[in-house]
């Protein structure tokens, strides 16, 4: 471990605690205030580093556009029910039509507004991406902490499992699951993605935990009688959370891509309009050569949201691992 890494951890780790010094209520308040101040300080320092990375800023700007799309996705349907992405039909339009003032990106094979579908697709992408990533990272962090802290056979067992899951082609596993249990809802998909994508996170968290558990402050906590759970969650976990957070940005992309691919192949949730679903419609109805205004936007969105999360992830990598900063 380099000096910079050392500093990084020393700056973020909690001070050694001596449990019986203060009455509990006072201690809790003290720590909360202290923790919040520290968190805000770290955040503003991190933001300063992040801001210096032009690609990261581009990624963040792109992402805010998508966030705006997702947040405004309910507006068109409120203005006029014909803009409903699923059931809305313009009484004057039957089927596909090129872009017009009324339908900025034209209409699909059922006469539904493509622009609204695109907005709702952004919302679905965020929901799928963040919930799957959150679950995957939470699971991966837990597994990594437990494996790293306990070591021995627990470690071997969990890491073998992580290896096995790592080599499974996620998309195809979801396909085979959907073959068995039938049509997957969007939440089933999210859950399965999370169950298949935790292993890379757990590897990284485990190796960090391995080095953290040898630290003096963990020793001190042990001596003062803290149990394993307390040491893991109060003393080790706070130090690996920045890394987990970094990994979340990468997991978000993976989840969005898997959902989009699944929907594209025709195994998406028929009750949701996702970008992958839109591509499946344009492809399966054989309109991909006739309607570029329908084919291009959803794919652009999937690719750009992937790009933006990737850029943000790389910039965050520099914030979390200052050692990388010089290379840029």
């Amino acid at each position: 471990m380099t000096t910079q890494d050392q500093e990084l951890f020393d700056n973020t780790c909690h001070p050694v605690e001596f449990p019986r010094e203060l009455p509990p209520e006072l201690r809790a308040g003290e720590r909360a205030r202290h923790g919040l101040a520290r968190f805000l300080k770290a955040l503003s320092e991190g933001w300063r580093t992040f801001r210096q990375n032009p690609l990261g800023v581009i990624g963040l700007s792109l992402l805010s556009v998508f966030a705006l799309m997702a947040l405004t996705s309910f507006i068109p349907q409120m203005i006029n029910p014909m803009y409903n992405p699923m059931t809305g039909v313009d009484p004057n339009i039957m089927g596909i039509q090129a872009p017009s003032w009324k339908h900025w990106l034209g209409t699909d094979f059922l006469g539904r507004d493509i622009f609204t579908q695109l907005l709702v697709g952004a919302k679905v992408a965020f929901i799928v991406g963040f919930s799957a990533a959150f679950m995957a990272v939470a699971l991966g962090t837990m597994v990594g902490l437990v494996a790293g802290y306990f070591g021995k056979w627990v470690d071997t067992l969990l890491m073998r499992l992580a290896d096995i899951i790592m080599v499974m082609p996620g998309l195809l596993v979801i396909l085979i699951i959907s073959a068995v249990i039938g049509q997957l809802t969007i939440w089933n998909t999210v859950l399965i993605i999370a169950l298949l994508r935790w292993s890379p996170v757990s590897r990284v968290i485990r190796s960090q935990t391995l080095s953290l558990r040898e630290r003096a402050y963990v020793e001190a906590a042990k001596v003062s009688g803290a149990g394993s759970a307390r040491i893991i969650f109060r003393h080790i976990a706070p130090n690996v959370l920045p890394l987990s957070f970094l990994y979340m940005t990468f997991r978000v992309t993976a989840a969005i891509l898997v959902e989009a691919s699944l929907a594209f192949l025709g195994f998406g949730d028929p009750g949701t309009v996702s970008w992958g679903m839109m591509l499946q419609w344009v492809w399966k109805t054989g309109n991909m050569f006739q309607a570029p205004y329908w084919l291009l936007p959803p794919g652009f969105c999937i690719s750009l949201i992937t790009l933006s999360f990737y850029l943000i992830g790389r910039a965050l990598d520099e914030v979390v691992n200052p050692r990388l900063k010089k290379d840029a």
Binding site: M166, V167, P169, L172, L175, I176, S261, G266, G299
Partner: protein, 325 residues
């Protein structure tokens, strides 16, 4: 000697992994709602066939016997009858496996080679216009949504420019013509292969390029590069013989890690291009509820990923003499 132990170790792990996946699949198909026999028996079969299949798969026997029969059948190569094709699953898989291997291995090898050499070059000329251009291209290629990109390529090259076939792997008129020899047929396959290969290549080289570039940037800071320069070696020699081989190691690891990901991409590409491969067969089997075929194509694809992982391990051990534990 040490190398042999490492490889035996890895092979052993891979066999265990495969058993784990097989067992998982068995459990998955047995906990599924409904009668498990509906997963193996085609609704269109005659009662006699149904009875013989029930007996063959031991569906009237306890679970552990069913599991044993499942394992034995797999190693005997008896995968059941595909509902859709009405012929043994093994035959279907045998006919599509070479096509997948052709597309997948050529795409992986070409994109890795290109990623390594361009990444090497970009890192060496860090900050130059060509570095920026290469890195940005790699970045964009890396984040393109594969099926969409494939559709666009078909739209441009096959539909607008009419340079390549829309889909498939062969032109029937050439294959049915007895006058066409081996070379004409090979050329025909290459002609159909080009576009899907190009799509997979573009999607995958970006990732390799980015990894190679950042690994190369780490390596050039090492002392032995300074030594090589001080010895008076040319720039080219230092780059190609001292820096690049060491920088390529993480790329090889990356090939192993991204295999599962690129198998997914392979399935999508095959489906979009109607390339008669294992991935497309799996996708079709799932949508047609052809359970025996779906199950076995999945197992064979998993086995492929595992074997490819082993190949990457061997390559890694060969490239890095330090990996001998």
């Amino acid at each position: 000697m040490e190398l042999r132990r490492y490889l035996i170790n890895r092979t052993f792990q891979i066999i265990i992994t495969f058993f784990f996946i097989m067992t998982l699949l068995f459990v998955l198909f047995r906990i599924a709602p409904g009668d498990p026999s509906s997963m193996i028996i085609d609704p269109a079969m005659t009662p006699e066939d149904v009875a013989s299949i029930r007996q063959q798969f031991g569906l009237d026997r306890p679970l552990y016997v069913q599991y044993l029969i499942y394992l034995i059948n797999f190693f005997k190569g008896d995968f059941g009858i595909s509902f859709y094709y009405g012929e043994p699953v093994l035959e279907v898989i045998k006919s599509v496996l070479p096509n997948t291997l052709l597309l997948f291995t050529s795409a992986t090898i070409l994109s890795a080679l290109a990623g390594i050499s361009w990444g090497k070059y970009a890192a060496w000329k860090k900050g130059s216009a060509s570095d920026v251009a290469l890195t940005l291209t790699g970045l964009i290629a890396h984040t393109l949504f594969l099926p969409w990109f494939a559709l666009i390529m078909i739209w441009i090259f096959s539909y607008k420019l009419e340079l390549f076939p829309l889909n498939g792997m062969i032109s029937p008129e050439i294959w049915l013509d007895p006058g066409c020899g081996f070379w004409a047929k090979s050329l025909d396959v290459l002609y159909h292969l080009f576009l899907p290969l190009l799509v997979l290549f573009i999607i995958h080289f970006g990732g390799f390029l980015l990894v190679m570039r950042s690994s190369m940037l780490e390596v050039v800071k090492e002392d032995y590069i300074l030594t090589a320069r001080a010895k008076g070696l040319t720039d080219r020699e230092v780059r190609n013989h001292h820096a690049a081989p060491n920088a390529a190691l993480p790329v090889v690891t990356n090939i192993g890690l991204s295999l599962a990901f690129s198998i997914n991409g392979g399935a999508l590409t095959e489906t979009v291009f109607s390339w008669p491969g294992l991935g497309r067969e799996l996708v079709n089997a799932v949508s047609q509820f052809d359970y025996p075929l779906a199950q076995m194509s999945f197992l064979i694809i998993s086995a492929l990923v595992l074997v490819a992982n082993l190949v990457v391990d061997v390559l890694y051990a060969y490239l890095d003499p330090r990996i001998r534990y």
